[in-house]
Symmetry: none
């Protein structure tokens, strides 16, 4: 990808519309019957789309590198994932729908159980109910509004999880997790990993002490573990960089959070794939770039559930004709990274990729699969180049140089 | 591509000979009968060459980026097009055949029409005849030889276009165009966009005032608009970087100009493709690198003339046996960028590429086309790597490291 200044100077605003359909973790390696999920699934519409498009394989970050969801998505949104590294705490904060400012340091929290002897006996406080979590978070928030000059904002997540945002001047990244990682240990406090983070560590550790004091009566949720301290990465928006008016359709907060980081508008949608495509149709006139995220291909990959992953992509397949009826100028179908069922986790394998637009050199690929896309006309390329490629095909980029 | 210092350290001078045959804008997207120009053309010699060579696709600049002729050619000549950006004024000066020195600041000019009220009423002075342009340029040149210490060199172009080169010490880039861009406004003067360009702006604006004075009696060509102020980019020569003794054969001044920028010797040739190949044969003993440029594949692409573009590449095809008779050590046939007839302009699509040499891994490609080359043994790569690849195949590069 060319640098951001060049992209900025080439991007133009036009009426054309781009849809980026991301089936999270769709890439697979052959396992069941020596086939991948895509080779097993009955996906006539995606196969037909591939046959009318140009295909290829994309590397999320770099050959051999397995990405987390953050960098894999940033890449697809056109941001260099090696330049912009997003800490876990920020991802979690976005995941519970918090708005972050440049003064924020975010972390993920667990409620945990502390024995009378001061030993952590359960790092998840027995996975307390989400409703109880919400109640206890409110109690903590009422009692702890600030630590010195620093504002504290607590937001409940699911079960035992919550997010703390510390908002104030001079907060610094570079802290060890305040989490012993195993049971049978005492409370672990955050340590500065660089000299500038010393004061920040003190604030965080003061919060842990106060929270444990406040939670005394709330066994089994009577202490907190904090991890992934991270500041807002301060990304330029897709509007600034690419002159796009982008919208996100995703069912999981983290993906909406990632989309928000790059300045996308988050569209309200339901829990089902059907509802996501409905949301796309309802809002199609209002934006020029749509990111539609399918979560469950990844979730089932992570769980090693091959057949369930097959069913999800088969369900997605049914909506492709409706998407094409919208007459987008550019439609991309791909993954953010691979999640092979047999590995039960993200992997480094490149993503199968379809680019559908009037200006592509249609290739011989007539199947949406890893093997077929490897023979595609686009060859193998970096995911960070997907956005420039989509913009080029939507005629949203001027010529570079004379 | 490795950096210039490494290339310099690896390059060796040998007797071997390289021919780089560039069919400008040859790449296409399927349109007529769902085929590209190359898929339509009868090019048995190029197809045979592809079958005896290794093929691939090259990106001129970066995936999705549509290049101008300048950066696209620099890339093919082995220069990082993002590092060396050539301003429009310089390209224009080269285009009208001017020689540039490191002391030159060049710009493109339009004759324009100024009303009695001092308002620009036509930015092209009614597209005056080229002969009239030449006459008026001579009058301007006779009256304006210098502005202070700075020499002024004026060269007519076609219709209302001309080029001004300001030659002197301490001239700086970073100036706004002296062109209101729309009619109905007053004369617009150049503004410095950086502090160092203030004096240069004064010189240019003094020229505009003097020119308008000189042109008073030459309605409708009674003022000038100047754009694209740019300095000579000061490129190292191909001899310095690659130890090559290169020669250029091109019919259009701009391509000779680009070749001159990188230190190629410009060979005198005729207007026809046949004459260009004659020139190659006549000079084959004298140089070790030949850049032979075919312009009309691009021109017809720009005009949307599919059939005419087909005929040009068919004409080029007839000369391939003569080129092979010269027994070059390396022959590359490719484009600098794509110019799909259906887009009537440059595009971002990668270039079909043939590399013929005794040391290639001949692949299964037996047709010179975009789709066939996408299946080639070289895969898809950056055009800036073409020069190292040619040199390697000509055994002109030493081993890197021990």
């Amino acid at each position: 990808m060319v640098n951001e200044d060049i992209m900025k100077s080439l991007a133009i605003r036009t009426e054309s519309k781009i849809i980026l359909l991301v089936a999270d973790g769709i890439g697979d390696i052959p396992s069941k019957n020596n086939k991948t999920v895509l080779e097993t699934a009955l996906i006539p519409n995606l196969d037909k789309l591939a046959s009318q498009a140009v295909c290829g394989l994309t590397d999320p970050i770099s050959c051999g590198i397995t990405p987390g969801s953050g960098p894999a998505h940033l890449s697809l949104f056109g941001y260099d994932p090696l330049k912009y590294q997003i800490g876990r705490g920020v991802l979690e904060a976005l995941g519970v729908g918090m708005e972050l400012t440049p003064f924020d340091l975010a972390c993920r929290g667990n409620f945990a159980t502390l024995s009378e002897e001061g030993i952590i006996t359960d790092r998840r406080a027995g996975r307390i109910a989400t409703t109880l979590n919400e109640k206890i978070c409110k109690i903590m928030q009422d009692k702890i509004k600030r630590i010195g000059e620093v504002e504290v904002i607590i937001t409940p997540g699911k079960e035992h999880r919550f997010v703390v945002v510390f908002r104030g001047k001079h907060l610094e990244e570079g802290l060890s997790d305040a989490d012993p990682q195993v049971v049978g240990r005492e409370i672990k406090y955050a340590q500065p990993l660089q000299p500038g983070a010393k004061k920040t560590a003190e604030i965080i550790n003061e919060f842990i002490r106060k929270a444990t004091e406040v939670l005394k009566e709330h066994y089994p949720a009577n202490t907190v573990l904090l991890r992934g301290f991270a500041k807002h990465p301060g990304l330029p928006t897709m509007n600034e960089l690419f002159k796009l008016t982008p919208a996100a359709i995703a069912t999981y907060p983290m993906y909406n959070g990632l989309a928000k980081l790059v300045g996308m508008e988050i569209l309200k949608t339901g829990e089902s794939i059907k509802e996501e495509f409905e949301t796309l149709k309802e809002n199609f006139e209002k934006y020029d770039f749509f990111y539609l995220h399918i979560k469950k291909t990844d979730s089932y990959g992570e769980d090693g559930k091959f057949e369930e992953k097959v069913k999800i992509i088969e369900e997605v397949d049914k909506f492709i004709p409706e998407v094409l009826n919208l007459k987008p100028d550019v439609l991309v179908v791909t993954g953010d990274h691979s999640t092979p069922a047999i590995l039960k986790g993200h992997s480094w394998h490149p993503n199968p990729f379809i680019l559908f637009s009037p200006y592509v050199r249609v290739d011989e690929v007539d199947k949406f699969s890893e093997k077929a896309c490897a023979q595609g006309g686009l060859g193998r390329f970096l995911a960070v180049d997907v956005l420039p490629l989509m913009m080029a095909n939507a005629l949203k980029l001027k010529k570079f140089g004379a």
